[in-house]
Symmetry: C2
């Protein structure tokens, strides 16, 4: 099954700081969507909203400073049961995030859109950690008429 893959390096940050931005309501609100709520603990469900739509993510795996895994519990049909992971490691002065959104059923046009959009938000994560200021929804780059 096709996957969306990304990598961003965050300069002069740390695995702990990146993990915090991926595992707290405050952190997630700072780079993905300002309308984030729910339970960020393992087994909890996070709610990400973007105006009319959004995603509910079950927090499946949390390894401090190392790994985060979500499974989509609710959202657009193409996203249901797909999994999203963030693997964190340090490389010299850079904290590296390897991102994977896997188990898409087919490489549909919406998957192309989501791939580019994930890059936009991962660059927002990088900006949040490097400068203190991300560009979460509704302030992120709009890619097409769907938004």
């Amino acid at each position: 099954m096709p996957d969306i893959l990304h990598k961003v390096g965050i300069k002069s940050s740390s695995p702990d700081a990146v993990y915090n931005a991926l595992t707290t309501i405050d952190g997630l609100s700072g780079w993905w969507t300002r309308d984030t709520s729910g339970n960020a603990k393992a087994g909890g469900v996070l709610r990400f909203r973007f105006g009319d739509g959004g995603f509910d993510m079950k927090v499946v795996e949390l390894v401090p400073a190392t790994r985060v895994l979500w499974q989509v519990a609710d959202g657009p049909e193409e996203w249901l049961a797909t999994r999203i992971s963030f693997d964190i490691k340090q490389n010299g002065d850079w904290t590296i995030v390897l991102f994977k959104h896997q188990d898409w059923k087919a490489p549909v046009e919406f998957m192309h859109h989501c791939s580019t959009k994930w890059a936009v938000f991962l660059i927002s994560l990088k900006s949040l950690l490097e400068t203190g200021r991300g560009a979460p929804w509704p302030d992120e780059i709009k890619l097409d008429a769907w938004e």
Copy 2:
């Protein structure tokens, strides 16, 4: 084999303008790398350089205002013989580019990097066409210590 997929919408542009930015030295220099040279015609080879390294692309298919297909003729080992396509269509006020970089042998870390980096450059293409100003190498967003 895994593919990199992306989609960007360009507002108030046209399929002809997007095609021009993908098929002329001047256009390509405006969003991917300022160090672009070679023969942009079908059967020609385009040379894209980024300081020490870069890619040579054979122009395999050109359908005006509709489709561009390149095959990698020289570059990093992971890129050799992979193919890169841009499919263009109009959707209301938006010109849509569906991008695919296909035939990667394995989903290695470098593929994650290239996926995010393609998004950075496709947003540069969007910016070039919407505002007259892209962010080609060496002025694009740097994603990690490799750059």
